[in-house]
């Protein structure tokens, strides 16, 4: 694949190295000459000095034939514009943007950026998984569809332990998909499935209903 990377900082640098090793054709656009020189010395001529948000620069590096553009500068606004120019002026099929403010995810999705990556959110998710007392973990979020897949853990103090699912009021619009118990096979829950301590319940919900779902599942 031909992949254009906007931003030759740390993220762009290591990303390019990895992608080159995988055999992809890479081109980096970087504004700072010093960074550009370092990359070109180490990796061969793969870095062009310029502004990756400018249509002229993007034209020069053959963006029209790129399979993907990845914008990984440290500024959300620059990453957004680079991706938008790539999409609207050069019809790049896939754009990926790094974001620093997790709130920007919604905007970027709305504006047609295919993938957003937020280090803040990734770290947050890792913490949620590590901390067993945190009763709700986001496994997958499709912001554009208003859909989430979440995991709710049944802690020892949950009031629903020993109750069958049919006795637990679930908000309309949510669905339990799977119950994983420590030492038995995962089951697709039916109304008679009993909730046990330590269960991990995988459920489909909307962002608005997640809090109610969590509260009802653990019985507070």
């Amino acid at each position: 694949m031909y992949i254009i990377i906007v931003g030759g900082g740390r993220v762009g640098y290591y990303l390019s190295k990895a992608l080159l090793n995988e055999g992809h054709e890479i081109l980096i656009i970087e504004k700072i000459a010093r960074f550009c020189d370092i990359i070109n010395e180490e990796m061969g001529s793969v870095c062009v000095l310029g502004d990756g948000c400018e249509a002229a620069t993007l034209a020069e590096v053959g963006t029209a034939r790129a399979d993907m553009l990845v914008a990984v500068t440290g500024h959300d606004e620059d990453n957004l514009v680079a991706c938008q120019v790539a999409k609207h002026k050069f019809n790049v099929p896939r754009t990926i943007a790094r974001i620093r403010n997790p709130q920007n995810e919604t905007l970027f999705k709305k504006l047609g950026i295919d993938v957003t990556v937020s280090a803040t959110n990734i770290i947050l998710e890792a913490i949620e998984k590590e901390v067993p007392t945190h009763p709700l973990t986001h496994l997958l979020t499709r912001a554009d569809k208003g859909l989430e897949i979440v995991e709710v853990r049944i802690s020892p103090d949950s009031k629903t332990i020993g109750k069958p699912i049919k006795k637990v009021p679930l908000p309309e619009g949510t669905k339990l998909a799977l119950i994983i118990h420590r030492d038995r096979k995962p089951v697709i829950p039916n109304p008679n499935t009993v909730i046990r301590e330590g269960d991990q319940i995988i459920a489909l919900t909307t962002p608005e209903l997640e809090e109610e779902l969590r509260a009802n599942l653990i019985g507070i």
Binding site: C53, D76, E77, D78, L80, V81, Q84, Q103, K110
Partner: protein
């Protein structure tokens, strides 16, 4: 009308002053408190310190009730991103943005932002002056 202006540079501050004289309700944003010195001494609108690309700051500025949002910072990308937040997240009826780069200005104009490029306008102005 309720108008939010992002960027209290020379242009932003002057627009704020002019619109206020006409009786509009103005909130002006800048992430440097020092910039507010450019506002007219009798300015009675709200000067708010903060980043106009941050949804929480925009909410504090009252963007949910705003009729017009004007992006007037030095950065094209900053302006364009804030303008798109105003338009697509907060549904502000009129969104105006300064974009120096004529190519980007053209593109965002077709994407529904009222974008104008001082570069193009000024170049044409000077050309006319010379040729007249």
């Amino acid at each position: 009308m309720k108008v939010i202006i992002m960027g209290c540079g020379r242009v932003g501050a002057q627009i704020a002053g002019l619109l206020e004289q006409e009786g509009h309700e103005i909130t002006i944003l800048d992430n440097d408190a020092n910039s507010f010195r450019r506002l007219p001494p009798d300015f009675k609108g709200t000067a708010l310190l903060g980043n106009g690309m941050d949804e929480e700051v925009l909410k504090r500025a009252g963007i949910e009730e705003a009729d017009v949002f004007v992006a007037m910072t030095q950065g094209d990308n900053r302006n364009v991103m804030a303008a798109q937040i105003a338009k697509h997240i907060f549904n502000v009826p009129r969104v105006i943005s300064r974009i120096y780069d004529p190519l980007r200005q053209e593109m965002y104009d077709t994407l529904g932002i009222e974008a104008f490029s001082p570069t193009t306008i000024f170049a044409e102005l000077v050309k006319e002056k010379i040729e007249s």
